[in-house]
Amino acid sequence: MTALPPTTDRKLGLVIDLDTCVGCHACVVACKGWNTENYGAPLSDQDAYGGAPSGTFLNRVHSYEVRPTTGTAKLVHFPKSCLHCDDAPCVTVCPTGASYKRSADGIVLVNEDACIGCGLCAWACPYGAREMDADAGVMKKCTLCVDRIYNENLPEVDREPACVRTCPAGARHFGDFADPDSNVSRLTEERGGFDLMPELGTKPVNKYLPPRERDRSEDIDILAPYLEPVTEDANGFLGWLERTLSKLPGGR
């Protein structure tokens, strides 16, 4: 099981739009809710009402401040869950075969019944996408909502990951990267979707869309005509008003 499939029939994954993500954590909690109730052991919380609460989450939203050499600083909200890597090191290190990548759709999963909770896969993942559940003693990770996307008990429109369904800003997209015409392939193409830490050779399936350029001070020459003065003071203004009103359709 720890061998990666040479290829997968489909490559399901997410596109996360950093231009649009407002950092609301909706996806974080929807994920927590769905996965506490569904696939495998519940996502537990320790010291839930205490001094150092700490629970298992499969999706977390960071934020980064970016300071360009000139111009104003920017803030980028940055959601992160498993990227379902094609060359997933978390899978090959697993001693039990509990970690595997599905050959049908490329989803990386943990078979919790086989997991000994050694934690090595979490060490092998560069992205911090795996968390050991302190209560269940098994490794938890994003399942790409494998129990939603094919779930015949859900209406067809709802067969998408919980985090995608809930994202109020529409910053998360789910689809098949093996299909060049899919929404996710097209978005990646059009908006220059990129990989996280490409140098580590994990070949993530999930892609990130860069924030659009911010604070472009447009050439004042382009904008200046829009503010071409018609007057310098109130009197001049009334003169202009007079002239303009008479030119309007139905004017005096």
Binding site: M1, V28, G33, D45, Y49, Y100, D113, N153, R216
Partner: protein
């Protein structure tokens, strides 16, 4: 050889039943699907909550708080039974009592007040959505002292909108997300329209429209804004008036729109000797006059066929009377509003102000939006198209929570109207039953008759000094001094002044303070430590508490619980009936009228009752008119009964959906009560909605099709077209009083302030705190923001959310950080004119240079919310409220003004000025209050919440 992949059950059973109701984690009121599963013990439990795709508000999406509702409903902090205080106030020592005892006690306290002095009851409610009901109860009781929380929240925004154009943002109106090309967001971190704003920004981004954030802090929406203006707090009015200056100077204003649909064309009485000086010229019917372009003569603004002339003046008796628009030209073309003149003060360079003005001009006028949809206006004129100026704006507390917020919000609406971007495609659109001008709202009422109801609704929109709520001696009639000369247009009351005034006995003493879902001893008060003292202070002579009795309804073990004598524990939002009514603050969208309910999707497992049902019961016990049946018993068995059967006006009840016509058939809007109504709502997913007809979609105040539809649905009884009030006569009337004109005159010490702030055209003046403290001593602005994943104080009892925001550092601008020699891990001592706090500090570059800020309401009192005393919320979290006083420092004459907007009484949270210095970390953030005893059992250590097997 790979071993076969494990078989995964990809179609697990999702839930046994889905019940659809309305979220309560904030006032956005999204539709939710509550998935229930049978637990091991056979009980149906909440297994999962997701958004309702069919719901008009959220269309399936859900925010973090909404999804975490499951942790709200199982929170260990839930109150379990009515409580009677046994320890001293503030100790948190209670015994659990029966409902019978609780209701008897409340009745014994309240009944004598009603008979002798109903005003001795002050009944104030928090951010609930049943104000049309609670106010009815208070009115029946007969006390003038009722309001909800709007006074400390955002009444500036609401009142400025209503007075200017018959509606403001959020519950009254929204950007035209589908058509806007440029979107300006002023002073918003999250807002009530939480999911719709996010969905809207998503739509704009998808279409490649431009988003501009104007905010000292760049997080959240402002982080995704394409352009960010890190404005200096309190100066938006100046920036906006400068934009107006630029646009007028370039002639980039929508003249036909201004002429036809605003009072820019109305003629102002400019005769200084006239008692009407500065008001609009009116005909015998009292209708404001315009010059009709067809005849050159005066005509009523709304006369059939009239073509108001923006340019023409009217000469009479040797005086030239000019249209409002001329006065605006006079004022706003003044060089005082030139970008260069305001750049330093606003912190935005003149170039960038011009750039923003030019972008507005380009988006509005270069590529106007035309929808081929003919419509007829109220003068009978047919327009063959709907022409839009696709510049949308939205604003909230960042501009309104300042002492100049009302005028700033007016300035903003003026900007929108000048470019013709209100109720036109691509601009701002009202949500039914708005638009509704101030004149269509009630006026405030305060006449007390012991043993009888008040003479009318408490809250409203005064049109002039004669509408104020004053005592016989001219002082305030209400405990919060709303609708007095201090804050004449305080349309939502001043909840933040109730405790302070009641404690001071100014204007009078009260007996019972009755509060509902407002954490007044903590995050919703200014001067939190002082408030706690006022609540526990005793009379030196009698030894009684200065505020003798406090009744409070909360659902959870909040900080406020400890300060009440009697606790009426509420249900959680999944355990009760609620009604989000068109009579109140409905959930409508620009394209649809809608209302909604909550219903008990689970049964409470504690001895708690829905507060509204408790009010029905109390109303019966007290014999309040409207709450007793003919036989003297309680008229409504519970709130569900009220929702279904209460009739407000003929044909109009709390809910508009599935009423009955005279043949017993279903009818929306008007109709008789339908005993099956709640069932119909439940079957429809918890809401009702009806689409605005296409031809009525825009120009609502002026559009006959809309007006007729609104009458049909029962929003008004006859068409009520109106034009926008760029020039505000109510303001002018108060200004005149301040200038000593007329018969209703203010006390001397307030005259000057009224004369200068109540300007009928938008103005800007510096926030009051700037002039009452030495700004060299307190050079820094200190702000709070709502975190998207927390709701005020109640998020902290939520095991999932508190992991996201378990403490709140003070974010310090890089400029201050470096100036003051901060480094990572340092704490900051923050001092205001009023107090001092010591708190953890973190650097932030994407922040106005002169500003520090923190997340609101994360800090908690030890012992509250069933949290461990070592909880980071208590040891590292903090409230900025300790630094904010409800009164400004004394002035020369020893008088202290409230820290509020002088027009509406809106609490000026964001005027705060501080200085800061670095310090080493103390053991815990300061001030640290003594722990309160928890009225609920200790919380479990860990959670593994799975309902199904």
């Amino acid at each position: 050889m790979a071993s076969p992949e494990p078989v995964v059950d990809t179609s697990p059973h999702v839930s046994d039943e889905v019940r659809k109701t309305t979220c309560y984690m904030c006032a956005c009121r999204c539709g939710i699907n509550v998935h229930l599963k049978e637990d091991a013990d056979g009980q149906k439990r909440v297994a999962y909550i997701e958004g309702n795709r069919d719901h008009p508000v959220n269309k399936g999406v859900l925010c973090a708080k909404g999804s975490a509702g499951i942790m709200q409903v199982n929170a260990p902090s839930r109150l379990r039974a009515p409580l009677r205080r046994v320890g001293p106030r503030g100790s948190g020592e209670f015994v659990e009592i029966s409902w019978d005892e609780a209701l008897k006690t409340a009745t014994e306290w309240l009944a004598p007040l009603r008979e002798k002095a109903p005003e001795k009851l002050a009944f104030f409610t928090g951010r609930d959505q049943s104000q049309s009901f609670t106010s009815l109860w208070a009115q029946a009781f007969g006390t003038p002292n009722y309001a909800a929380h709007g006074g400390f929240c955002s009444v500036n925004m609401a009142a400025a909108g209503i007075y200017t154009m018959g509606g403001a943002f959020w519950e009254f109106g929204q950007p035209d997300w589908d058509h806007a090309k440029l979107f300006l967001l002023f002073g918003v971190a999250e807002d009530h329209d939480s999911n719709p704003i996010k969905m809207g920004i998503g739509k704009l981004k998808k279409r490649g429209a431009k988003v501009v954030g104007i905010n000292p802090i760049r997080t959240g929406y402002n982080a995704v804004a394409d352009d960010w203006y890190g404005i200096t707090p309190g100066t938006d009015g100046l920036l906006i008036l400068s934009l107006i200056h630029c646009l007028m100077k370039a002639g980039r204003v929508d003249l036909p729109y201004l002429a036809q649909f605003t009072n820019a064309s109305c003629i102002v009485n400019e005769d200084p000797s006239s008692p009407q000086h500065g008001l609009l010229l009116r005909d015998e019917q009292g209708k404001p006059q315009v010059v009709d372009g067809r005849t050159g003569r005066l005509a009523a603004w709304d006369a059939a066929g009239v073509e108001p002339d923006l340019g023409a003046t009217y000469r009479h008796g040797g005086v030239t009377h000019r249209p409002v628009f001329h006065l605006m030209a006079d004022r706003y073309l003044d060089p005082a509003y030139a970008p260069e003149a305001v750049a330093e003060r606003t912190g935005i360079s003149a170039d960038r102000i011009r750039q923003l003005a030019a972008e507005i001009a380009r988006a509005a006028f270069d590529t106007p939006l035309e929808i081929d949809r003919p419509w007829i206006d109220f003068r009978g004129k047919t327009h063959d198209k709907m022409i839009g100026r696709p510049v949308a704006m939205h604003a909230m507390r960042g501009i309104s929570a300042h002492s100049n917020g009302f005028q700033t919000a007016r300035a903003l609406h003026t900007l929108q109207i000048l470019i013709g971007a209100v109720e036109t495609p691509g601009g701002m659109r009202f949500k039914p039953p708005y638009p509704k001008p101030s004149t269509a709202h009630p006026k405030p009422h305060c006449k007390v008759t012991p043993g009888h109801p008040l003479n009318g609704p408490h809250l409203g929109y005064p049109q002039g000094p004669e509408d104020l709520c004053l005592s016989d001696t001219g002082g305030p009639a209400r405990i919060d001094k709303a609708f007095s000369w201090e804050n004449p247009l305080s349309a939502h009351g001043l909840m933040h002044m109730v405790i302070s005034n009641a404690h001071a006995g100014d204007p009078y003493r009260i007996d019972t303070l009755f509060l509902y879902m407002a954490n007044m001893s903590w995050n919703s008060s200014m001067n939190t430590s002082g408030t706690m003292k006022m609540l526990t202070d005793t009379d030196p002579v009698s030894g009684d508490y200065v505020i003798p009795r406090i009744i409070y309804s909360d659902a959870y073990s909040s900080e406020m619980v400890a300060y009440a004598d009697l606790i009426l524990p509420d249900t959680t939002y999944l355990e009760r009936h609620d009604c989000i009514s068109l009579l109140d603050r409905p959930i409508c969208e620009a394209d649809a009228a809608a209302d909604a309910i909550r219903w008990p999707v689970i049964e409470p497992d504690r001895d708690v009752r829905g507060f509204q049902s408790v009010l029905c019961d109390l109303g019966g016990r007290l014999g309040l008119p409207g709450f007793v049946a003919e036989d003297g018993s309680a008229k409504y068995a519970d709130y569900a009964d009220y929702i279904t059967n209460h009739i407000r006006r003929p044909g109009i009840g709390p809910l508009a959906g599935w009423r009955k016509d005279k043949d017993g058939k279903d009818q929306s809007g008007r109709g008789t009560a339908n005993p099956d109504q709640l069932r119909r709502y439940i079957d429809n997913g918890g809401f009702w909605s009806e689409h605005v007809p296409d031809g009525a979609a825009y120009y609502k105040p002026f559009n006959r099709a809309y007006q007729d539809w609104a009458v049909k649905l029962g929003f008004y009884d006859s068409p009520q077209p109106y034009i926008f009030q760029l020039y505000s006569e109510p303001l002018r009337r108060f200004q005149m009083a301040g200038q000593g004109k007329g018969t209703h005159l203010p006390p001397d010490h307030l005259a000057e302030r009224l004369a200068s702030t109540m300007d009928p055209l938008p103005i800007w003046y510096p926030p009051f705190e700037d002039s009452s403290v030495d700004t060299r001593d307190f050079p820094i602005h200190a702000l709070t923001q709502r975190p998207m994943a927390m709701y005020h104080s109640w998020g902290s009892q939520n095991a999932w959310l508190r992991q996201i925001h378990g403490m709140n550092p003070l974010y310090v601008s890089s400029r201050i950080w470096n100036d003051k020699g901060f480094s990572d891990g340092d704490w900051a001592r923050v001092t205001s004119a009023h107090g001092e706090i010591t708190v953890p500090a973190v650097e932030m570059a994407a922040l106005n240079d002169h500003t520090v800020w923190t997340w609101n309401a994360i800090g908690k009192r030890r012992g509250a919310w069933a949290l461990d005393p070592a909880a980071p919320e208590a040891t590292k979290g903090f409230l900025l409220n300790h630094l904010i006083h409800e009164l400004l420092p004394p002035k020369g004459d020893g008088m202290r003004w409230t820290n509020s907007d002088p027009i509406t009484g809106q609490a000026a949270w964001f005027d705060l000025r501080v200085r800061i210095e670095r310090c080493d970390p103390p053991a815990a953030s300061q001030p640290a209050h003594a722990p309160i005893q928890s009225p609920v059992p200790a919380a479990p250590k860990s959670l593994r919440w799975k309902v199904g097997k």
